[in-house]
């Protein structure tokens, strides 16, 4: 291909391969995943587990059993559950920021070890040394849990790089928020991921607020799915409050990426009901705004209504909720009663080797 400026101009007109809208069109043509009752029930159960777990974590924080920062995922459950249900657990990898409890639960990691990490106990998944924001399970392909806003994006591209290097067929799902989407390293990563056709799905969870700053106050382009355009990354604009819509979008995106076509950027429009962290009074938005989303768009209520339509009984759903509450209570009891790390743990794992 010639590199003269003139031919470049022509190629922009003739470039039929650069079909940024193709995935969005595929998504619009069939927006929702056709789930069986059993499939939907499983997704519902996972979302409910996250909701109940986070409610309990909020309580434990209030009791002083959880310290520091604690970012709850309530309201956003459909995103992690819908996306991760489309992954191949044995091959794929996931990475996210500090609001990570939900992603771990969606990955089937035991609630007990997550809750015990939140309370800073030896039995916690990071032996009590990571806390809410720094949890990992390489066994499950979950690579954290990163506290620096946006850092997980190049790290995720590194995981994707490793998939490609090893030719293991895996795809990386890298989650970040609307706030992180303004970090420079995100765009450095978009460039390299696209340049090298890395198998990565960039997932922007747009929960409308970067801590206390509304999207429109911080972002020149609030349609985040368009932000990969300059790097030739196709974007998808997805309703993140409907688990089946999320799941279907994931199918389209992952299929495209797994075939070696390079990265995809999905924007999931969602909402967090709680403050940015437990210490956020959330004065930057009205109670009515939150109430309206809860009443009209709650992903769990929506799935529940759909399950009832599909013939699931109210009683069995109540029984399910009861089971989940019991599971979460058990995790909380475990997290409260487990011992703190031994003091010798202080010096462990600074380095892997002895020199």
């Amino acid at each position: 291909m010639s590199k003269s400026p003139r031919s470049k101009k022509q190629s922009a007109v003739e470039d039929t391969d650069f079909a940024l809208r193709s995935l969005q069109q595929a998504h619009l043509a069939q927006p929702r995943y056709k789930a069986s009752k059993e499939e939907l029930l499983r997704l519902y159960e996972q979302m409910l587990l996250i909701r109940r777990f986070e409610e309990r974590a909020g309580q434990l924080y209030g009791l002083g059993l959880i310290g520091g920062f604690c970012h709850l995922y309530i309201g956003q459950e459909a995103v992690a559950v819908g996306l991760q249900s489309a992954l191949d657990g044995g091959k794929d990898s996931v990475i996210t920021g500090y609001r990570d409890h939900g992603h771990m639960l969606a990955y089937g990691i035991e609630p007990k070890v997550i809750m015990a990490e939140l309370t800073g106990r030896e039995a916690g998944i990071s032996r009590g040394k990571g806390g809410s924001m720094h949890m990992f399970s390489t066994e499950h392909g979950f690579y954290g849990g990163h506290g620096i806003v946006g850092a997980q994006v190049p790290l995720g591209a590194g995981l994707a790089f490793a998939h490609k290097y090893r030719e293991d067929g895996g795809v990386c799902l890298a989650y970040f928020g609307d706030g992180a989407a303004n970090q420079g390293q995100v765009y450095e990563t978009f460039n390299m991921a696209s340049l090298w056709d890395l198998p990565i799905v960039f997932v922007i969870e747009n929960n409308q607020y970067a801590m206390g700053t509304a999207v429109k106050r911080s972002s020149a382009e609030t349609e985040f799915y368009r932000r990969g355009t300059a790097f030739r990354i196709p974007g998808m604009d997805v309703n993140g409050m409907d688990v089946l819509e999320v799941r279907q979008a994931a199918e389209v995106a992952i299929d495209f990426v797994r075939k070696g076509n390079g990265p995809v950027l999905i924007e999931l429009n969602t909402y967090r009901y709680r403050g940015h962290s437990m210490s956020d009074p959330a004065k930057y938005r009205s109670r009515d705004e939150v109430k309206e989303v809860r009443e009209k768009s709650d992903p769990i209520e929506r799935a529940k209504a759909e399950l009832i339509e599909l013939g699931e009984s109210e009683e069995s759903l109540k029984a399910l909720d009861k089971r989940i509450r019991a599971q979460v209570s058990e995790a909380a009891d475990f997290a409260e009663s487990s011992p703190e790390p031994d003091l010798a743990e202080l010096y462990k794992d600074v380095l892997v080797e002895n020199y």
């Binding site: 990898s93 990475i95 916690g124 998944i125 990071s126 032996r127 009590g128 040394k129 990571g130 720094h134 949890m135 990992f136 399970s137 390489t138 690579y143 954290g144 849990g145 990163h146 506290g147 620096i148 850092a151 994006v153 190049p154 790290l155 995720g156 591209a157 590194g158 995981l159 994707a160 790089f161 490793a162 998939h163 290097y165 090893r166 420079g184 390293q185 450095e188 990563t189 460039n191 390299m192 340049l195 462990k348 794992d349 600074v350 380095l351 892997v352 080797e353 020199y355």
Partner: protein
């Protein structure tokens, strides 16, 4: 008036080069922009262009001449309409009268060849091992190549590491041998590729991330510290980040404040990192191989001014040195000079001078700055009872400060004199030749401090 053409400096650190080929001959008309000759530096072959118009009058240095010092007159051009003077006499110009060499020789002239100096002790190399001379640059390249042959998870990424063969030619030849999958040119995007490297390490690969210089790694320091150094600890030992961040560190020559800084104390501060700063070729090779094999994240600090120096390297199939062990470069009994990286050469030079004055100096090369070999320092102090640190870097919160603290905490009873440090001046590195020279440590300053310590 005839114009002299002088051997150009084609990089900030070039002192001499080979006049590989003349593309013009005497009597040729040349104009501005014509390529006159090809000049080989230790890094690359460069074209030498005409700036002035005229006729090539005389070619003074024939092609194929090696080691032509920068500033040597290599040819002369007669200006337009000028009679070509009959040969023989050197052509005097105003410029030459007023001028030292066109491009000044770097302030830190390398010390006398250190290649012949045998290490006083190094437990890892068996007695009687044959030696061969390698430049530090070659030693680093060989270390990477050997480890890439040994382990297919190892790959190199960075700016200009592949097709360009390395900005400082440290990765020369790697692309040819290992291909673009394992020798990867990145865009100029340090934060991004340091993060991608760290992520690839978390995902099970063994990346070597080259920074063109560590000055640019400041853009990436978040990933070196927050992502690479802390992950193993934060994950309770579950998730490792076995990565090597490497590249030249410290002052180069006449490149100004933003390109001349020693980051050793920055990284040596951080638990979770291994920090290595070798001086000679044997250590560069043996320690880089160890760094690549390490399960921990390693910051490997090289020095541009030392890349071209030749040193003896043990001719072993697999020369790997232990991380975390200092090395006695020269034994002595009156005082200990502790240093690392380029400072070691200056310390050895100072020790030679001091020997002439009857002062026997022991020179210790720390080699690894984290974990720091406290025992080596304290044992030497126990023997000599006097100690100074020579560090090419700023004094405040330096490796020198740390060594002084170690001597105070654990070596106080062995001290017969206060520990002194010889560091760079506490200023951003200036560009002007005289100021740069004044700002950087040199052997004379080490000698002076040693006299004070031994007074």
């Amino acid at each position: 008036m005839a114009i002299e053409l002088k051997m150009p400096a084609l990089s900030p650190t070039m002192e001499e080069g080979k006049l590989a080929r003349w593309l013009v001959k005497e009597g040729d008309e040349v104009s501005s922009g014509d390529i006159l000759a090809e000049i080989e530096t230790d890094k690359a072959t460069m074209e030498f262009e005409a700036v002035d118009e005229g006729t090539i009058e005389r070619i003074l240095i024939p092609e194929g001449t090696e080691a032509v010092t920068v500033g040597t007159v290599i040819a002369s051009i007669a200006g337009e309409g000028e009679a070509t003077p009959s040969g023989g006499e050197p052509v005097q110009t105003e410029a030459q009268a007023a001028d030292p060499p066109a491009v000044p020789v770097p302030a830190n002239k390398p010390p006398k060849p250190v290649a012949a100096r045998q290490p006083a002790s190094d437990p890892a190399v068996p007695e009687g091992t044959a030696m061969k001379t390698l430049s530090v640059r070659e030693a680093l390249r060989d270390a990477m190549a050997e480890e890439m042959r040994r382990d297919d998870r190892v790959f190199v990424m960075g700016e200009e590491v592949a097709e360009y063969q390395g900005a400082y030619k440290v990765t020369q030849g790697l692309l040819d041998e290992f291909g673009p999958k394992r020798v990867i040119d990145t865009p100029i995007t340090e934060y991004g590729f340091a993060g991608i490297g760290a992520g690839a390490a978390m995902g099970g690969l063994r990346p070597i991330v080259e920074f063109m210089t560590f000055n640019f790694a400041m853009q990436a320091i978040d990933h070196i510290i927050n992502s690479a150094a802390k992950t193993n600890y934060m994950s309770g030992g579950q998730m490792r980040c076995p990565i090597v961040f490497r590249g030249p560190n410290g002052a180069a020559s006449r490149v100004g404040a933003q390109h001349s800084q020693n980051y050793a104390p920055w990284y040596a501060h951080v638990p979770g990192l291994v920090v290595i700063a070798p001086y000679d070729s044997a250590d560069a090779k043996g320690l880089l191989k160890a760094a690549i094999r390490s399960e921990d994240p390693v910051v490997f600090l090289e020095n541009e001014l030392v890349y071209g120096r030749g040193f003896e390297v043990p001719d072993l199939e697999d020369h790997v040195l232990p991380i975390g062990k200092a090395r006695i470069m020269r034994e002595g009994s009156d005082l200990t000079i502790v240093s690392y990286s380029i400072g070691v050469g200056l310390a050895l030079e100072a020790a030679d001078t001091l020997a002439g004055e009857g002062i026997s100096a022991e020179v210790i090369d720390l080699r690894t700055l984290r974990p720091l070999d406290r025992n080596a320092v304290l044992q030497s102090l126990a023997k000599t009872n006097r100690l100074l640190i020579a560090e090419e870097g700023w004094p405040q919160c330096s490796v020198a400060s740390e060594i002084i603290a170690i001597c105070m905490e654990d070596g106080f009873d062995d001290l017969d004199a206060p520990v002194l440090r010889v560091c760079n001046e506490d200023v951003p590195l200036p560009y002007a030749e005289n100021l740069e020279k004044a700002a950087l440590i040199d052997a004379d300053r080490i000698v002076e401090a040693a006299r004070k310590v031994c007074a």
